[in-house]
């Protein structure tokens, strides 16, 4: 089935639409591209015949995919190893197809290809359904900012053109993409090999009334340059090749005119634009410029401007700060590791930064968030994490301004991964959409500055339970786990406190009350300094624990009571310090559970039945709680909101 020859596009100045074809390996990308080239008459003379002849000589069936097998490796392995760009055109417009590899090994090549695309076609094998790369590529398209997505369900001929198979696949993939804010514009059932629904509607799938692939492509839009967004003029360099001092760079969003006042971030120096310079000098000097243009300007005042600065209109500048959250994909062999330093490149800024912590890590096959994170992001994984830069950086949230809201991480001189920034707070104090800077400059050791410094807020996890219930074991393990995630954490253990701070206290009711009060005050001070504090004290009385909670809450410290709930028999059987034995023998007086009461918490945020849960399971719950409690957006008094195990 061949289409009639399309008319050549007449408007040669029209932009080309760049589409990337992604999906799992062997789902038919090369065949689809070969088919598109053939059906749109975009192949050089004799190419098909040449390949048909070669196939016949080697006793192979002709494959459209062979049209693309340009490099030796591809011919040997039959997979696309690198991004290739191929041009074709329809009656509607010119296209550049970016053929991105579907093999996991070549994810960096897929990203290189997809990052520049205006639209994407995700290819799915009707028999195999959603595979690892189908999911991963879908998620990455969202990170890369590719908004227009078509899904082509290929090899329909191998499932008897079943409408049910197609409908189920569409439902499943839409459900997967939904959380990532990707809503495909169309799902198209097709067969690249046999030409169904590529250019002409398939007579085998009359149940499908949507566009063919080519028609759907022709209905895509050229994404407009972000002219309506706030101005971001990214400075590349300062030239003094002649008497002029040229500030050169690219306008990534917005527009400016000669005479506009421009503020340069970070640093916020202002001047007016004097001229926009062009060569040849016989050309008329422009008076304005807009997103997408590489320009050279002169300023009225000789303020300090250098590569890396971002020019913006005053009151509409980017965020300036040293910490931010980002969704990151990692491509390098060496894992991205908490506590290590990396070079970040954001627009033309280059800055040293430390990976502070990992907030969420996605399962590499399903991309579902893992309950437990770890301090390392391996190759081909995606995660949400926090970076802290050595000096202030100017940036945006990527959904606000794309180009200044994303960055790459450089390791060993090569790009190791990329990230998009989310959740940064623009200063709205001046009651404008965006303003000068964050409050971190006002007081270098304000509570906000501490949160920026650590990447999280201070908090108290109060572990209560009988002696031998497992409090200290869990507290020690939790501390180690949080520490590895880059969280500033410390542990207040009841026994240790009694050796120092509380050395003068005994086990009477009054002394126990004072013991808890001092521990609570110490926890508060440490949490105010920015640390996550885990306490491990029996703290048997409800009133004392409530008092401890109140001390922290009054200081604005998130506090969570955790009941390490283990039956007395088990504690006594464990008896790690032989204390129960001594208490039973009467050698110790006022021992909780034996001759002194334990009042179980009435409303703990978390109750851990250590007789039913494994240590690892208990730890997972504690980690989840600690992460929530110390999150920068957690408000005191709302620690428990939405937390359940």
């Amino acid at each position: 089935m061949h289409a009639s020859a399309p008319l050549p596009s007449t408007d040669e100045d029209a932009q080309k639409l760049k589409i990337v074809i992604v999906g799992h390996v062997d789902h038919g990308k090369s065949t689809l591209i070969g088919r598109l080239l053939f059906d749109t008459h975009s192949l050089p003379d004799g190419k098909i015949e040449q390949i048909q002849k070669a196939c016949a000589a080697e006793g192979m069936d002709f494959e459209y995919a062979f049209l693309l097998d340009a490099l030796l490796e591809e011919q040997e392995q039959n997979i696309t190893i690198d991004t290739t760009q191929i041009q074709f055109r329809t009656a509607a417009r010119n296209y550049v197809i970016v053929d991105a590899p579907g093999h996991k090994e070549f994810l960096k090549n897929m990203i290189t290809g997809a990052a520049s695309a205006d639209a994407a076609v995700v290819l799915l094998d009707a028999r195999e359904g959603l595979q690892e790369q189908t999911r991963r590529h879908g998620y990455l398209l969202s990170l890369l900012g590719v908004k227009q997505v078509l899904v082509a369900v290929n090899k329909m001929d191998l499932v008897d053109f079943s409408q049910e198979t197609f409908t189920n696949l569409e439902r499943d993939y839409r459900a997967f993409l939904e959380p990532y804010d990707i809503r495909p514009l169309a799902f198209i059932p097709m067969s690249a090999k046999h030409g169904h629904n590529i250019v002409v509607p398939s007579e085998k799938m009359t149940w499908f009334s949507g566009d063919t692939l080519l028609a759907a492509l022709d209905h895509l839009r050229q994404p407009p340059a972000p002219i309506e967004k706030p101005l971001r003029f990214v400075v590349q360099d300062i030239y003094r090749f002649d008497a002029r001092r040229l500030i050169v760079g690219r306008i990534e969003s917005g527009q400016f005119s000669v005479g506009d006042e421009i503020e340069f971030y970070p640093g916020e120096k202002k001047s007016k634009i004097k001229s926009i310079e062009v060569w040849p000098t016989t050309e008329k000097q422009p008076t304005q410029a807009q997103a997408g243009q590489s320009v050279a300007i002169t300023l009225e005042e000789q303020i300090f401007v250098e590569r890396g600065h971002i020019g913006a209109h005053p009151e509409h500048g980017p965020v300036e700060g040293t910490t931010f959250s980002a969704r990151v994909f990692w491509l390098a062999d060496q894992p991205l590791t908490v506590g290590q330093s990396y070079t970040l490149k954001l627009a033309t800024q280059q800055v040293e930064a430390r990976l502070e912590r990992v907030d969420r890590l996605m399962d590499s096959a399903t991309l579902a968030p893992l309950v437990e994170t770890r301090p390392q992001i391996a190759r081909n994984e995606v995660a949400e994490l926090v970076f802290r830069t050595r000096r202030p950086l100017a940036f945006d949230n990527s959904d606000e301004v794309q180009v200044t809201g994303r960055f790459v991480v450089v390791t060993e001189g090569r790009i190791g991964g990329g990230g998009v920034i989310f959740g940064a707070q623009y200063d709205r104090a001046a009651n404008v959409a965006r303003s000068a800077h964050l409050s971190w400059t006002d007081d270098p050791v304000s509570p906000e500055a501490r949160i920026d410094h650590f990447g999280h807020r201070g908090a108290v996890l109060w572990l209560t339970g009988l002696s031998g219930s497992g409090k200290s074991t869990l507290a020690v393990a939790l501390q180690a786990r949080l520490f590895r995630q880059g969280i500033a954490v410390t542990l207040l253990d009841g026994d240790n406190l009694r050796h120092g701070l509380n050395a003068n206290l005994g086990f009477s009711v009054a002394d126990r009350k004072e013991n808890i009060r001092r521990a609570a005050e110490a926890a508060k001070l440490l949490a105010e300094a920015g640390l996550v504090v885990i306490t491990s004290l029996i703290s048997p009385f409800e009133a004392d624990r409530q008092n401890a909670a109140e001390i922290c809450r009054q200081a604005g410290i998130p506090f969570a009571e955790v009941y390490v709930s283990t039956p007395l028999e088990i504690c006594e059987a464990r008896d790690p310090k032989s204390l129960y034995k001594k208490a039973r023998a009467g050698e110790i007086k006022d021992f909780t559970g034996i001759d002194s009461p334990y009042e179980p918490p009435t409303t703990p945020v978390l109750e851990l039945r250590t007789d039913l849960l494994s240590k690892e399971q208990s730890l997972e719950h504690l980690l989840k709680l600690a992460t929530k409690l110390s999150h920068r957006d957690t408000l005191p008094g709302e620690e428990a909101a939405g937390f359940s195990i």
């Binding site: 340009a70 290189t112 997408g292 590489s294 090569r414 790009i415």
Partner: protein, 267 residues
């Protein structure tokens, strides 16, 4: 913004990134249409100046008209020009009269370039290659590192996205910066037309023939054509199904000739 404007702005961005990233840059210049467009774009990027040297690898099989054009343009643009010949290979008698085109091209172009790299220690070369020229160039990066043996490790290229490039090199390595990668043959012609960029006259038809791509005279064949103006060339390109480099013998000498040449450092 039109398609051509988008290409022009992107090429200027790439040239400025290269100028910042590297200390010692050269721009190979074949006097062909693409490298003349590159000179024009550099002039635009750097406010009418070209802050690095141009390099002509003289194979000694140059068309006389091209050499004439070289000398004229050097004066016209005020270029710093370096001319490099692989004298050692010529002394050994390497030439099209006695050797196959892949060997001669390798010796007189690639090895000559390596000799110049050793002599001048450039850390970046700005080249005028385009993705649509052949299938190996289709897989190139804008900033494409070459190891100390001048080889292109095309099986393991660094990722490149979001306007961020490979800019660090070890001593002896260099980066090929390729600002015209996204341009097509007809983009080049329309840009030459729009800006009235000077090019050698051999591209236009004389006596029913014209050169579509220019190289060494013994292995460069003209195509049948009556296209004597850019409009006529564009009309010809819109219907042709032969490739631009069909008249360049070294590309077709054996299967995968171009890949083998380029892996070793050919542009």
């Amino acid at each position: 913004m039109t398609h051509l404007e988008r290409l022009e702005n992107q090429s200027i961005f790439l040239l400025r990134e290269a100028q910042h990233a590297f200390k010692n840059i050269a721009m190979p210049w074949s006097m062909g249409k693409d490298s003349n467009v590159l000179i024009w774009l550099a002039k635009k990027a750097f406010g009418g100046h070209i802050p690095f040297s141009l390099l002509h690898i003289d194979t000694t099989y140059e068309f006389p008209e091209m050499l004439e054009f070289r000398d004229w343009a050097t004066k016209e643009y005020g270029l710093k020009l370096i001319v490099k010949i692989n004298e050692e290979a010529r002394a050994r008698g390497v030439g099209y009269e006695t050797h196959d085109p892949v060997t001669v091209t390798h010796e007189l172009k690639t090895v000559a370039l390596q000799q110049a790299l050793q002599e001048y220690k450039w850390d970046a070369l700005i080249t005028g290659i385009r993705r649509d020229e052949d299938s190996t160039r289709a897989k190139e990066r804008y900033f494409s590192p070459r190891n100390a043996q001048y080889e292109w490790e095309y099986k393991d290229q660094p990722p490149e996205f979001w306007g961020q490039f490979t800019t660090s090199v070890e001593p002896g390595e260099h980066v090929r910066v390729q600002p015209l990668l996204d341009w097509t043959e007809s983009d080049i012609w329309r840009y030459i037309q729009k800006n009235n960029i000077p090019i050698p006259q051999m591209y236009f038809a004389r006596d029913g023939k014209r050169y579509r791509s220019l190289g060494c005279w013994p292995i460069t064949k003209p195509v049948e054509s009556n296209a004597a103006t850019i409009d006529e060339i564009l009309a010809e390109l819109s219907v042709t199904k032969t490739s631009e480099r069909a008249g360049r013998a070294q590309d077709h000498h054996e299967r995968n000739a171009m890949q083998k040449l380029r892996a070793k450092g050919f542009m």
